[in-house]
Subunit: 468 residues, 2 copies
């Protein structure tokens, strides 16, 4: 009996003590760096939660709380509080395919056939103008544009990617940067072997960085032979980094694959063991049902680029079929030379409008679907689905604050409709990546905008001289 | 000999005198109200002239000079000079089809099938909420948005059009306003006879106004019987005002026309003597080659609405075929409920991208073509081609100044490419209609923006209550 009462005393004492500690710790507001409160929080989480009068708390580089303003305010003690009333707080946009420095060629040559455009303008311009300095200025200009328009993560394929990495480091963005490997002489590598060696050095230099994910970017199945495709693939596998490739962009590519290998471009890449979950395939327009299954089976992420596909008249990617098959699908702008900007809000709007028309179904690719593709879908497609793409505790603090005050956004019935159908990149007021504020009240803090614009204008004169 | 020398003297004297007068008069600077100087002037005149370091002089409501800054500066003496360096001066945009007050329904119901959208949302909302007050607030909100995004002339079809006219009068815009006639009970007329009477009163009240062109707007061939279509047509002819009608928007309309009359919608309207040069037909998607010839033969103007046709999955208007046939073709946004905004820069971009893809030809519908449709093409389609749509001496001073300073507009190789592919309505800095500055440095001068936005938000609560 005495023994029993001793056990009871200890048990009761322990329970009371634990309860007190638990109550105290839940009552004790956690110290955090930043609290965004009072706005409409569009989480794009698995339940698609939209929180009116919501809040997001950020500590260091991480989101630590998402909920109603009252809930979150009682749980945290913030060093800085930003009132987001009347605005939308949402995940930063993920641009799954671009060639950042090509902003230097935007509007240089439009309304031309693809080969004419490439052969008479883009290739000569690239041969004569792409230098590390050109890439630095172009990437900085692109970074400015992306920060301004709410892109927080982008996937790049270009030359001198190590220069782009330095710009991204300074700009504060998150990126997957693929050093290009291509058969013909490129500005930074005369032959593929040199490109492969450059890619390896680039990957070694940046692997493990918290924001910059180096990658290997074999250009396409029609611009590289099997040996080089496999070499690029093996290099990426060895270092466990992503592989970026253009895939099935044009009908011409499909013809080449059929003539040379008797396969579709997708079928060919599978046949040489190229495909896997670290592959991000840009475009994926000319794919069969079987191709979609192949891409799904190998866990390949796909980047849909509606504006580029329209402007270059490439064709229409089967977006609803990709989604139905469960392929991880993101949106991209492609390079600004074929867009002509890097505004992911435009990409969302275009995706919804294009596929409704193409499928002759106004219910197709809803605003919600486009928003998902531009955020969590893209994040998953590029292997960052656990880090970014939605507002959830534990994820990286990559988010944007979007104004809803314009006459064209008034009245506001449905925030997601407005984000897709009436919002522009210019409506973004604040951009945060990895917990760092890159733009505040429309002013970019990490880059010298005036200087970059001036440098771009100076460089543009050389570009003008390089084309007919 | 003496006779001859006398003739010579008089001749020489007369030539010297005339020359002196001419030199003096061309040297004497003309007094004008406003000089825009130093910018890139995109005239959209018949030669497509783009003047670097150009100027436009405005006196009263009229453009009096267009040329190089040096040329124009020496010819005029301006009360006010606006430096437009680094910006584009261009004709105001002509929105050839909208339903202005429907901005109140933007984003209310998206991603739905057309009939579901109309029958479950738009018609119930209209039945319960469209009052003169609703129309006043909606039209003011639309006017704000149009002034902000560079539309200077718009074509409207709605109810209580007399209320819209008052708003347009105050806002300072130019408009063609069509009082709607429709078979079923409308918010402002229980039966078509009442609508016809209201239309006549409206036309009588506003005919001859310098900016407001009253019109008659029979809704469509499937929502009116022959008697009412002809009555509307005769009313418009009697007063020599435009006739606005929806035409061949959906495949369903084509089916109805075929079943009921064994004709296309266009063929049917021709068969009842409806068509003529005062008709502006919105959409024109489901037209045959023969229909295009019919429209051309009767001088019908056509309004192409790419975003609405995409969002509602209506189909693709054969734009290149219209243009090849010489039909006067303009661009429109349609109502904001199916767009979801009134930004004509978006309409231009969408027109170019859509038709390149649809025709599988990246040369189709160039930036220049879209710009022409959005300005002079639209002006001609609505019968105002001699008054507006291009910057030429003698035309009404309807023009806009567009910023080119954004990172997404840098560098600038081709102003017309940038206007179509990377410019937004929000880049418009100044809007001038009939010589009056409606917006200066992004601030609307003719309307109380804060009050209108607040009224719209209040009214939106009633709209929310009216739908499921």
């Amino acid at each position: 009996m005495a023994k029993r009462s001793w056990i009871w005393s200890v048990t009761i004492w322990w329970l009371l003590f634990s309860a007190a500690v638990l109550v105290q710790s839940s009552d004790l507001p956690r110290e955090v760096d930043l609290l965004l409160t009072g706005g409409t929080v569009v989480t794009v989480d698995t339940s698609g939660r939209v929180i009116t009068d919501g809040a997001v708390a950020i500590d260091g580089s991480v989101i630590v709380a998402v909920g109603s303003s009252a809930e979150v305010a009682s749980a945290v003690n913030a060093i800085e509080i930003v009132d987001t009333s009347g605005q939308i707080v949402m995940p930063g946009l993920v641009n799954t395919h671009t060639h950042a420095p090509m902003v230097m060629y935007r509007g240089l040559a439009d309304d031309l056939a693809l080969m004419e455009w490439l052969e008479q303008y883009i290739f000569p311009a690239e041969a004569k103008t792409v230098t590390p300095e050109f890439v630095r200025v172009g990437a900085a200009l692109a970074a400015l544009e992306m920060i301004r328009s709410g892109t927080t993560t982008f996937v790049d394929m270009y030359y001198f990617e190590e220069v782009i990495a330095e710009v991204v480091l300074e700009a504060g963005l998150r990126a997957v940067l693929g050093q290009t490997i291509i058969e013909f002489p490129a500005p930074d590598a005369a032959v593929p072997d040199v490109a492969l060696a450059r890619a390896e050095a680039f990957v070694q230099a940046w692997r493990g960085h918290e924001r910059i994910n180096p990658a290997v970017a074999p250009h396409a199945m029609y611009t590289l032979d099997e040996n080089n495709l496999v070499a690029a693939r093996n290099l990426a596998l060895r270092y466990e980094v992503p592989i970026l490739i253009h895939l099935a962009e044009t009908e011409n590519e499909l013809s080449i694959a059929r003539e040379q290998y008797g396969l579709t471009p997708t079928g060919y890449l599978e046949s040489i063991g190229f495909l896997g979950s670290s592959v991000v395939a840009a475009h994926g327009v000319w794919v069969s049902g079987a191709d979609i299954e192949i891409l799904k089976r190998h866990g390949v992420g796909v980047s849909h680029n509606p504006e580029s596909n329209m402007k270059l008249a490439s064709g229409v990617a089967p977006v609803s079929r990709y989604l139905a098959a469960g392929v991880d699908l993101g949106l991209g702008t492609d390079g600004a030379a074929s867009n002509n900007d890097l505004d992911m809000f435009e990409a969302m709007r275009m995706a919804s409008l294009l596929h409704k028309l193409h499928e002759r179904n106004p219910r197709a690719v809803s605003a919600k679907t486009s928003l998902e593709m531009a955020t969590i879908g893209g994040a998953r497609a590029i292997g960052l689905g656990d880090e970014v793409g939605s507002l959830e505790p534990g994820k990286c603090a990559d988010l944007i604050i979007v104004s809803m005050a314009a006459p064209r956004q008034t009245p506001l019935y449905d925030p997601i409709s407005h984000l897709v159908y009436t919002t522009r990149g210019d409506d973004v007021r604040m951009t945060i990546v990895h917990g760092r504020i890159l733009m505040r009240d429309g002013r970019v803090l990490t880059l010298d905008e005036t200087m970059i614009l001036e440098e771009a204008r100076q460089l543009a004169m050389k570009v003008s001289d390089a084309v007919p």
